[in-house]
C-alpha cells in the first residue's frame, strides 16, 4: 500500500518507461507521442488548408487511444494515487524560485504562478501557457520527435538525429530556465 501512495524513485521510473516502450513495439508500433498533435490537426480539418495534413487519421487510431489512456491515467493518478504532491526539491531550487517570487515551492506538482486560476486567467498567464504550447508543438514537429520519440526511442536505437534533437532540447530548456523564467517572473 505504501508503494501506491509514496512517490516512486527514479530507478523505478526509468525501467518502467523502457517497459512501456517495449510493449509499444511489441504491439507492433513505433513509440512516440508528438505525431498525435498532427493527427489531431488532421481530425480538426487542417487537410482543407494544407496538403501536409491530408492523411488518414484512422491509421493512427491506436496512438489516439494511447493519448486517451494518458488523460485517464493522469486523472486516476491525481485523484487516487497522489495524496500528497510534495516534491523533495534541492534547497537551492527552492531558494531561487522563492527569490523570483514563487510561493509554496515544491508543495504541489505545478506552481500556482503558472497553473492556478488567477495565473492562467490573466493575459500574461494565458500567453505564457499558449506560447510555450506553440513552441512545444512547432518544435517537436520541426525536430521530428519529442522526448519519447527522440530522447528515449531515438537515443536507445543509436540514431544521430535524435542526439542532435536532444542537444537542441537542452539548449532551449536552459535558455528558458536560466534567462526567460527570471525575465517573465
Amino acid at each position: 500500500m505504501e508503494f501506491i501512495t509514496q512517490p516512486w524513485p527514479w530507478f523505478i521510473g526509468g525501467p518502467l518507461i523502457a517497459i512501456s516502450l517495449l510493449l509499444y513495439f511489441y504491439f507492433g508500433k513505433n513509440f512516440g507521442v508528438s505525431t498525435n498533435l498532427e493527427t489531431l490537426c488532421t481530425m480538426a480539418g487542417a487537410g482543407k488548408i494544407s496538403d501536409y495534413f491530408k492523411k488518414d487519421w484512422k491509421e493512427r487510431d491506436f496512438a489516439l487511444l494511447f493519448v486517451v489512456g494518458l488523460i485517464i491515467g493522469g486523472f486516476i493518478s491525481s485523484t487516487y494515487l497522489i495524496p500528497n504532491q510534495t516534491i523533495d526539491l534541492n534547497p537551492k531550487t527552492i531558494k531561487e524560485l522563492t527569490d523570483l517570487g514563487f510561493s509554496n515551492v515544491g508543495n504541489q506538482y505545478f506552481p500556482d504562478e503558472i497553473f492556478s486560476k488567477e495565473a492562467f486567467s490573466s493575459i500574461k498567464g494565458f500567453l505564457i501557457l499558449l506560447v510555450s504550447g506553440i513552441f512545444v508543438g512547432f518544435g517537436t514537429r520541426y525536430a521530428g520527435g519529442c522526448t519519447s520519440g527522440h530522447a528515449i526511442t531515438g537515443l536507445s536505437s543509436l540514431q544521430l538525429p535524435s542526439l542532435l534533437a536532444v542537444i537542441g532540447f537542452f539548449i532551449g530548456g536552459i535558455i528558458a530556465t536560466w534567462f526567460i523564467i527570471p525575465l517573465i517572473f
Binding site: P9, F11, G13, G14, P15, L16, I17, A18, S20, L21, F25, F27, G28, S34, L37, C41, F53, F62, L65, F66, V67, G69, L70, I71, I72, G73, G74, I76, I82, T93, Y109, F110, P111, F115, K117, F126, L129, L130, G133, F135, V136, G137, G139, R141, A143, T147, H150, I152, S156, S157, L158, Q159, L160, S162, G168, I171, G172, I175, A176, I180
Partner: protein, 137 residues
Amino acid sequence: MKNIKFLILGIFFAIVLSKTQAISWYRFYEMFKFQSFHMYGIIGGAVIVSMVFMQLFKSGKIKDINGNWIVPKPKKKGTIRTILGGTFFGLGWGISGACAAPIFVILGFELIPAIILLIGALIGAFVYGLLSKKLPH
C-alpha cells in the same frame, strides 16, 4: 477492439510519469538548472534499459505480437531541423514544464491550463505543417 491495449498502456505510462514526478514543472526546472539527478536518472535509466531491448529486437530475440521483427523507424535526417526544432521544443518545455506526453497527462491534473497548452501545441504543429516546405531542414 484490438487496439484497446494501447489505451491500457497509455494509462500505465501516465501513472508511471505521475508517480515518478516526471510531469512536475519543478522537476524540469531542477533538471535544466542541473540541481537534481532525479530526471537524469529517469531519462538515462529509460534509455539504458531501452538499449537492451533494442539489442533484443535487433537479434530477433523479441518479436512483435504478430511474430514480425521489430525495427524502429529511422528518424528523419537533417541537422538544422533537429537542432533548431529541438531548441524551439526545449524553450516551450523549459517554460511550461510540459513536453508532448505530459501535456495529455496534465489534462487529468490541471484541466484548463493543460487545455491552453494543448491548443498552443496544436497551433504550433499546424504552423509547422503550413511552413514545412519553406523551412530549412
